[in-house]
């Protein structure tokens, strides 16, 4: 099996052709990771269905395509990006815009918020906050099986940097609007680093949008450090067109007694793969991982979760749901790993899916790997339809069948959405999901592209 | 039968029992009353051999033996029965199998042959009648899916099966309606003999309308602060626990 696939060869070539250009605009520290990551990528390659973690997702249709590759920011487009308005009314947030993987603000690459919080460009932070940056960058995004992580490390040069100092509570969330727009098919990779120090409280919203109808492929890596006793929430809202592929890899490292939650809401997208790695790296940590997707047409949505209980007395809970319409396909791959010394672990996982048509297909693979005995772990997975008894009950109260189905589906989805703590966003999500279920939202909100 | 002398015990380093002395003679019914958190259930747990309670001082002698040295199952085979406040559910283990194993362990301890299946079933039937327990319960898994009242009645049924010398009923009356309460009390009264004894732990006096105690103790803050005849229970019911608390505090001051 020495022969690398043609597709992998293509990306190896891409690296070799552009590495000088990429290194030229990046900090020395980021550059120092590139060669070893490239080595690792050339060993692992682009994941195929033979890779157990990608068993149900075929990446070839997006990776086997000739994209225009943007390794340099295009300043002229930045103005348009800054004009982008988020349509979540009443959401009061510190906004950041990322265009095609680059931080565009022309004046200031890093912004200081109250209490010593910094948000801004990753590449800039690597130089200005070298001490903090070097303590965390590249420490959490590790994989022995997934080449895409290493492909990102080898080539990404910018993204979002957020720093919350010790003891600081940031009352407003940070909202990252992740835009992809180009008049050419484009492949881009970006890299985020979020550091929430000891005793801090902070949440971040990441919204993924496509603004033009070209074919896009994004491979993003986000590293998060959550210090002792800190509270951190990440909410990702995905709204991309059917010709876009988004791969997100989020690595959340938690220290002692910290509490985190992650919530991936996928409203629209061609091929989406969200990998979330939770590392419970200190005693008493709690981790919650949620996900909801609504898929139709030929969309394919894959959620992958790895819950790594490395220390005793940690708690985790996973809840992932999917509604599949038309000929859409979905996958869920959730793993709970309880390491030998992680006694006192409580770990739960639930995956429920509804198939609305005969052509939709769902594959799910929940896993438990338990090496400690004083644990309570369980998982449940279902693939089915709406509950007939419940449907009849609603109907018997005078609600027509269509409405009753909608209510049940909405209730099904709301179980995930209700875990969003930011109220205006939660309401907006409920609203969007309702519209989506009614079929009124055949394209993404605030998207100019008519796709599908 | 049971002599407790200056018993002190703690849970996770926190002192709960602070010097209890008590003697139960054959044929006696003792009631232990007291407000929540006074140490009633801890005392029951120590007597039954629950390990999370650490005995720090004092002695307990049962039929002349050092009870504290005995394993929980040996105490049971020697005739100590604990009616649990919260009976445990054991999925998949049928009551019949559970009780048969327990009864035969007791018999083995006494040097008797195990009961044959038919004798055992007959015994189950008789005892069920005695304590008026629904016979369906016996076919289910131990306490699994039982209501609160069913669980408590099941405890009394087990007591009837095992014929203990000293039965400790830990708040067996809590959560029971009046009918269930009567069934539980009748069970106790029917099982009472001149050679066996009961310690009835309760928060309320109402169980003692049905089970007449010889001695009533009031436990407060890990100590027995008052011991008297059955009239004490009635007094407590009328006045509540506050006057006891006051009395104790006054004594301390005096």
């Amino acid at each position: 099996m020495n022969g690398k696939s043609e597709i992998t060869e293509k990306y190896l070539g891409l690296y070799k052709d552009n590495i000088n250009k990429i290194s030229g605009i990046s900090s020395a520290f980021i550059n120092s990771f590139r060669a070893p990551a490239f080595e690792k990528f050339s060993e692992l390659g682009i994941p195929t269905k033979k890779n157990e973690a990608y068993k149900y997702t075929n990446l070839n249709i997006f990776f086997d395509h000739d994209y225009e590759n943007y390794f340099m920011p295009v300043p002229s487009d930045f103005i348009k990006a800054e004009e982008f308005r988020c349509d979540v009314t009443d959401l009061d947030a510190h906004g950041i815009v990322l265009l095609n993987g680059f931080y565009p603000t022309l004046n200031e690459k890093l912004r200081q918020l109250p209490s010593g919080v910094w948000i801004g460009s990753l590449n800039e932070a690597a130089v200005r906050f070298a001490d903090i940056f070097e303590k965390h960058f590249g420490k959490y995004a590790k994989s022995e099986t997934d080449g895409l992580i290493h492909l990102n490390t080898a080539m990404a040069s910018d993204g979002v940097f957020v720093y919350i100092p010790e003891g600081v509570t940031l009352s407003k969330p940070v909202q990252v609007v992740n835009l992809v727009q180009s008049d050419e098919d484009m492949f881009n990779q970006h890299r985020n680093l979020i550091i929430a120090e000891k005793n801090s409280v902070f949440s971040i919203i990441i919204c993924d949008h496509t603004l033009s109808p070209q074919k896009f492929l994004t491979n993003a890596v986000t590293e998060v450090f959550v210090g002792e006793n800190a509270h951190f929430d990440i909410i990702r809202v995905q709204n991309e067109h059917n010709n876009a592929c988004k791969i997100t890899n989020t690595f959340i490292h938690q220290e002692k007694n910290s509490v985190t939650s992650s919530n991936n809401i996928t409203l629209h997208g061609g091929l989406i793969r969200n990998s979330t790695y939770h590392h419970l790296g200190g005693e008493g940590a709690e981790s919650y991982s949620y996900g909801l997707f609504l898929a139709d047409k030929w969309q394919h949505i894959d959620n992958f979760v790895n819950m790594d209980h490395a220390f005793p007395n940690c708690t985790s809970n996973q809840l992932f749901k999917g509604v599949l319409d038309d000929m859409s396909t979905g996958a869920f791959n959730g793993r709970i790993l309880v390491r030998p010394d992680a006694q006192g672990t409580l770990a739960y996982q639930k995956n429920n899916n509804i198939l609305l048509t005969d052509d939709a297909k769902m594959d799910t693979k929940p896993q438990l790997e338990i090496f400690a005995d004083d644990v309570k772990c369980s998982h449940g997975a279902t693939i089915g339809q709406l509950d007939d008894d419940a449907l009849f009950y609603l109907q018997s109260r005078g609600i027509d069948k269509r409405e009753a189905r909608l209510m049940l589906m909405f209730g099904f989805a709301h179980e995930v959405i209700q875990n969003i703590k930011i109220e205006p966003l939660r309401e907006r999500m409920d609203n969007l999901v309702m519209q989506r279920l009614k079929g009124e939202l055949s394209r993404c909100a605030s998207c100019m592209v008519k796709c599908g | 039968m049971l002599i407790i002398n200056n018993l002190k015990a703690s849970i996770e380093g926190k002192s709960i029992l602070k010097g209890i002395s008590l003697e139960v003679k054959p044929g006696e019914i003792h009631a232990i009353m007291g407000p929540n958190g006074s140490g009633k259930s801890t005392l029951a747990a120590v007597l039954a051999g629950r390990e999370f309670v650490e005995v720090t001082e004092g002695t307990v002698s049962y039929l002349g033996k050092n009870l504290l040295e005995m394993a929980a199952e040996d105490r049971a085979k020697e005739g100590i029965f604990l009616g649990f406040q919260y009976p445990i559910e054991i999925p998949g283990v049928s009551m019949v199998n559970f009780m048969k194993t327990a009864v035969n362990e007791h018999r083995k301890h006494k040097g008797l042959e195990p009961l044959s299946a038919s004798d055992f079933l007959k015994m189950m039937r008789d005892k069920k009648e005695l304590v008026e327990i629904d016979s369906k319960l016996a076919n289910r898994s131990v306490n699994e899916g039982f209501s609160g009242g069913e669980k408590k009645k099941n405890e009394i049924f087990q007591m009837a099966m095992l014929e203990p010398k000293l039965a400790i009923l830990d708040e067996t009356d809590s959560g029971l309606d009046i009918d269930a309460l009567r069934i539980v009390a009748n069970g106790v009264n029917k099982l009472k003999r001149p050679d066996n004894s009961f310690i009835v732990i309760t928060h309320y006096q109402r169980l003692l309308d049905y089970i007449i105690p010889d001695v009533v103790h009031v436990l407060y803050d890990g100590r027995i602060v008052k011991t008297a005849g059955k009239e004490l229970a009635i007094e407590l019911e009328e006045k509540g626990y506050d006057w006891i608390k006051k009395e104790v505090e006054n004594n301390v001051i005096a």
């Binding site: 030998p340 198939l355 005995d373 | 559970f98």
Partner: protein, 482 residues
């Protein structure tokens, strides 16, 4: 109590394997090693027809192109196929029609295992095919069954006497290309049981095969083929043991079941191959391919397994639910103690309409044992109204063992309902204390609780086996709690 439990744990885990003895039987063995020549020798020894030799050779050649699978959650020491003896049989005596003609040593062996070969001594209602190393030595009640048209004999006899049936069904459920170990078996299989239940017949007794590995360095490669014709019913049992040895012994079997319209097959296994010693030395590698085809409408295949033995178990009794309204079931208890490893589960493939499957798996890990459930539920596009319910529980006794669950649910039909649930926990200390308080020792309490935990599965076994299984569980696990 903690200390007591440790003591009991060590007492129990050091308990001897009861069936570890070796019998000195006069054997006919071929030299060790595997080659095309060896395949030919096996076929010649068994005086096989040309078509079967061709099947073996075809399989062998295909096997040479294959690699051992590595996807299971198992650590397997490399197997040297040139060190294995692929054929060993007790020396043949003339007529085996009479029990008295059997080598007395052999008879003693089976008596010792509790499997008397004399019909009058045997439990009423169980017919036994006794297989030692590579061959079947005696099938009881053959004549009684024959009166009803039921064929129950050794696989070798079936090849001679019912070649058409064998040719029609062999490899129809597990093709010779299926997997590494099935292909190996197809090349070198020695003997096994064959069973055919004719149309409309309910087999009046339990049919059973008892497998015994006896010789050293010998692999066991039996093959069982069970055909239930329309409207028939059969309950089939299999049991197995092996001597205690320091080397690992390979057991790679195939079981194929075909259930025609309205037929029902119950297949039960109590697997107690030698598990190795407490340091993990020796023990049988149990790599088995078992699959049933619910071919006709309303057919039903039910697998029940109690897996307590073997150093390594790699086994996935499966059902292909082809007939409309057909049903597949899998009930399993797998125990891993000391250094045992198990990767076991099932595959339910829903093809027909209104097909139903149930999976109940109970894993118990103790010592350094590693226990994995691996299962696939696949609902194909046209399998409307498919139903599956899976429940996979793991019980951990001690903090050095592991319990793992790898379910795969693949659903391609809107009307399907597929549900999977799994839990992992340890024996509750309060449950044990509750039993203690009633005078039951910790050791017995664990026995009770484990048996209660496994009861749902044990209840599926025929009476005689249920008692045996319960005892086995008790022996392998009593008191092993941390």
């Amino acid at each position: 109590m903690e200390k007591d439990q440790d003591k009991i744990l060590s007492d129990v885990t050091t308990g001897e394997y009861k069936y570890g003895f070796y019998s000195d039987i006069e054997m006919d063995r071929i030299p060790k090693g595997l080659s095309e020549e060896v395949v030919r020798i096996i076929s010649a020894k068994k005086k096989e027809p040309e078509w079967l030799l061709d099947f073996r050779l075809k399989s062998y050649r295909h096997w040479l192109t294959m690699k051992m699978p590595t996807w299971a959650n198992l650590k397997i020491a490399p197997i040297n196929y040139q060190e294995i003896i692929f054929y060993a049989a007790p020396k043949e005596r003339k007529n085996l029609n009479n029990v008295d003609d059997i080598d007395p040593e052999l008879k003693k062996t089976f008596d010792k295992l509790g499997i008397p070969l004399e019909e009058q001594k045997h439990l009423a209602g169980v017919a036994v095919d006794a297989v030692i190393d590579s061959v079947s030595v005696k099938t009881t009640f053959k004549e009684t069954l024959a009166e009803m048209g039921i064929i129950f004999c050794s696989f070798s006899d079936a090849v001679k006497e019912y070649p058409d049936l064998v040719k029609r069904y062999m490899g129809s459920v597990v093709p010779y290309t299926d997997n590494f170990f099935a292909t190996l078996n197809s090349a070198v299989f020695s003997d096994g049981s064959f069973c055919y239940i004719p149309k409309g017949v309910r087999c009046p007794m339990e049919l059973s095969t008892y497998f015994r590995i006896n010789s050293a360095n010998t692999g066991q490669f039996e093959r069982t083929l069970l055909i239930a014709d329309e409207e028939s019913y059969v309950s089939y049992l299999e049991g197995c043991t092996a001597p205690s040895r320091d080397e690992n012994q390979l057991h790679a079997a195939i079981v194929e079941i075909v259930a025609e319209k309205n037929a029902e097959v119950k297949y039960s296994t109590v697997q107690n191959w030698y598990p190795g010693d407490k340091e993990g030395k020796g023990g049988v590698f149990n790599f088995v391919t078992k699959r049933g085809m619910c071919k006709g409408e309303n057919s039903k295949i039910s697998w029940t397994q109690i897996e307590t033995g073997s150093a390594i178990t790699w086994k996935y009794p499966s059902c292909i639910l082809r007939g409309d309204n057909s049903t597949g079931e899998f009930y399993s208890v797998a125990v891993t103690n000391n250094y045992q490893q198990a990767d076991t589960g099932t595959k339910m493939t829903h093809i027909g309409k209104n097909t139903k499957s149930t999976i109940v798996s109970k894993g118990i890990s103790a010592g350094h044992g590693q226990n994995s459930y691996r299962g696939l539920v696949k609902v194909l596009k046209n399998a409307s109204n498919a139903r599956n319910y899976s429940q996979c529980d793991s019980l951990l006794l001690g903090d050095k063992c592991g319990a793992h669950t790898f379910p795969y649910l693949e659903v391609d039909n809107q009307t399907a309902i597929v549900e999977h649930e799994a839990t992992t926990s340890k024996i509750g200390e309060d449950q044990i204390f509750y039993c203690n308080q009633r005078g039951i020792s910790t050791e017995d309490a664990i026995g009770l609780i484990v048996n209660g935990y496994a009861r749902e599965v044990i209840n599926k076994l025929p009476m005689e086996f249920a008692v045996e299984a319960q005892k086995l569980l008790q022996i392998s696990l009593e008191g092993s709690v941390g």
